[in-house]
Structure formats: structure tokens, C-alpha cells
Amino acid sequence: MTRIKGAELSRRDFLRSGAAVASATLAPGVTLIAFGGSQAQAAADAGKRWGLLIDAGKCDAGCSACVSACRDENGWGGHGNPDTDAQWIRKVTLKNKTTGHETSMPVMCQHCAEPPCVDVCPTGASFKRADGIVLVDKHTCIGCRYCMMACPFKARSFVHEPIVNQKSHAPRGQGTVESCTLCVHRVDAGGTPACVEACAGAGHEAILFGDLNDPDSQISKRLAEYPSAALRPDLGLGQGVRYANL
């Protein structure tokens, strides 16, 4: 991939302009050198692995703050047709038939390390970023919906209707497949997903977001300390989303 230069600059002009390297002398003998170019600021860092830890014990069965926060943040409001409307995150209730105990929890894209949706995509539209976030590139999505069939978590939705008033950070359109992006636009800006914020705002703090690769992150410490599980561990998908107190 070649980057198209804004203007025709000769090598000499470029070096003369000082755009290539900015340097500052901090102290005698110590020089800070910053290289130009946006590549160095790329946010999808291969050293990171973003994930969520959802504590089903703290999740309130009557609360759906995470779902409505996601809907508002990403603009996937329904068309009044529950059979086909997009659903990036849903509240799921599990019932233990022996004891009658019910567990409520949100289920969204599990951001697998080995995502089946990426395996089956015929165009390469379904992909995993270097930092483990699984996304759909709608520029190449042809709407075949193989990924929807491949996903064991029913995380993906197909857009049936023409759409207006999308959020500029979450483009979505008729004929393409979509799912939870882990609020990638917020994560790239150093923030946390909308569902995590909403859950904390509702006073439950059932969802924890962080870098699974960083042993000092809160999420890694909690995972090391308390038992947790991935959904359908038999599939060996290495999800970034894990559940506690299921």
C-alpha cells in the first residue's frame, strides 16, 4: 500500500522542511527525537488484547442499561420488527432446571482469538484487529451472512432496511452484517465501551474492561484471582469476553 503524498515534494524539500524529524534538546547530551508519520500512533496495538469480564453475580435481571447504552452509542435502534432487527448485545437468562436458579447476563460479540466468523468470510470483510477486536469491514461485506451462521453466540445481525442518521463513528447500512465493535472508536481514544460505563452508572459494575495481556491490569488480576469461564469452552475459541459466577 502506498500512501499518496499530499503534494509533490522532492526528497531534498522534505528533509529541508524539517517534517521528517522533530528534535528537541532536553538536557546537554539528551535529545528527544520524534519521527513524523501517523503509523507510529496507530491505535490497534498487537501487544494488547482487549477483553471484558462479566460478573453474572452482579448483573441485575431487571436491568438493561448496557443494551440501551449500546443502542444509543452505536445507533442500532429497531424498526419494530424483532425477527429481523439488529441486536448487538442482548440480555440472556439461563435457568438451571434442577435447582430453578436463574442467571442473567449480557451476551455480545465474544471477540474470539480464533473467530469462526473470520474463518468463513469469503471476502475478508470479517476480520480481527491486531488488538483482538473482531470487526466487519462493510466496504467489502457482501451480506452473505455466513458469519451469522458460523457464530455460536448469535452475535451478528444483518441490516434489512435502508438506514439514515447513522452515527459518524459507527457507519451501518442495508445489506451488510454488523456486531458489537467493543466500542472501538472509544477504545482507540483511550476510553471504555459504552456498556461498561452504563453498567457502572447503574450501580452494578458487572462488566470490567481491560487489557488481558497486561498482568497488572484490573481485569487480569481479577481473572487470576477468581474463577471465570468462556461460553462454549468446548469450541476452544479463546474469547476475549469471559464470565464469572455463571
Binding site: I4, G6, A7, S38, A43, H79, D137, G173, Q174
Partner: protein, 150 residues
């Protein structure tokens, strides 16, 4: 002398009227706000698609959001207001993108997924009608199928 001058005058007159025709048919490119492109308008007119295609992959695949060319960035300066002062959507012929693309007979698909106005300025339903079906028609279609099957 007249024999020589007359064809010359006629040619000039014809040339001028041709130039006038061209200018009236030429796309009426809306004025932008903000600082002009450092690379010049001609460069952007020719290369904006390659730049946006290149930079969208940087954002989408690598998470690089400090990019030069994005649709959202375009609308910082290139928005058009209609007679009533409302910002027009892609449904209007006056939309910045359409002013040239209609002239060049190139249909752009960008606005099937991307909004054609800055955040906070609502798009109307005419915008959805551009794709041939209005929102909600799917229900009518499914109903029709159901009736046909019975």
C-alpha cells in the same frame, strides 16, 4: 479585407457562445468554509477517492484515527445549506458530493452506510428512499409474500 475579417469575427463569436454554454453546464461547486487544502483543490478533486480509500483502511484495520481524508472530515467544511438555511443531505442535488458526481454520472455508495451530514444534523427519510425502498417497506413486502403463500 471584410472577406478576411468576417470569418474571424464569426469564429470568435461562436467560440464565446460555446464557452458560455460550457460555463452554464459546468457543475456549480458549493463554496467551502475553513482553511483551503494545502495540496490544492485540483489535487483533491482528482485524488480524494484514493485518499479516502487508503485512509479508511488505516482507520478500520489499524485503528489509526489521525488520518488526512475521511468523510466526517469532509463535512467539517463541505456542507451546503438550502434556501431555508437547513443543511442538505445527499438526497438533495445541492449536496457537495452530488454537485460533481451528478455531473460526472457517477453514483457513490458511501451514503448507504455513512451519514451525509455532520453529526447532530438529521437526515430525512428522502435519503433512505434513494436506495429505492423506504424504511418499513420490508414489512409490506413480507406481508405481501405471506398473503401470496396462503
Amino acid at each position: 479585407m471584410i472577406r478576411l475579417l468576417l470569418p474571424l469575427v464569426l469564429m470568435l463569436a461562436a467560440g464565446m457562445s460555446a464557452a458560455e454554454d460550457r460555463s452554464s453546464l459546468w457543475p456549480d461547486i458549493p463554496k467551502a468554509t475553513g482553511a483551503p487544502h494545502a495540496e490544492g483543490n485540483a489535487y483533491w478533486r482528482k485524488h480524494h477517492m484514493e485518499m479516502m480509500r487508503h485512509d479508511r483502511d488505516l482507520t478500520m484495520r489499524d485503528g489509526d484515527r489521525m488520518i488526512a481524508a475521511s468523510l466526517k472530515g469532509c463535512f467539517d467544511c463541505h456542507t451546503v445549506k438550502d434556501a431555508s438555511g437547513a443543511t442538505v443531505t445527499y438526497a438533495s442535488e445541492k449536496h457537495f458530493c452530488r454537485s460533481c458526481h451528478d455531473f460526472a454520472a457517477v453514483r457513490v455508495d458511501c451514503f448507504m452506510c455513512h451519514r451525509s451530514t455532520p453529526d447532530g444534523i438529521d437526515e430525512t427519510d428522502d435519503h433512505a428512499a434513494l436506495t429505492g425502498r423506504k424504511a418499513g417497506d420490508i414489512l409490506a413486502y413480507l406481508r405481501a409474500i405471506g398473503e401470496g403463500g396462503e
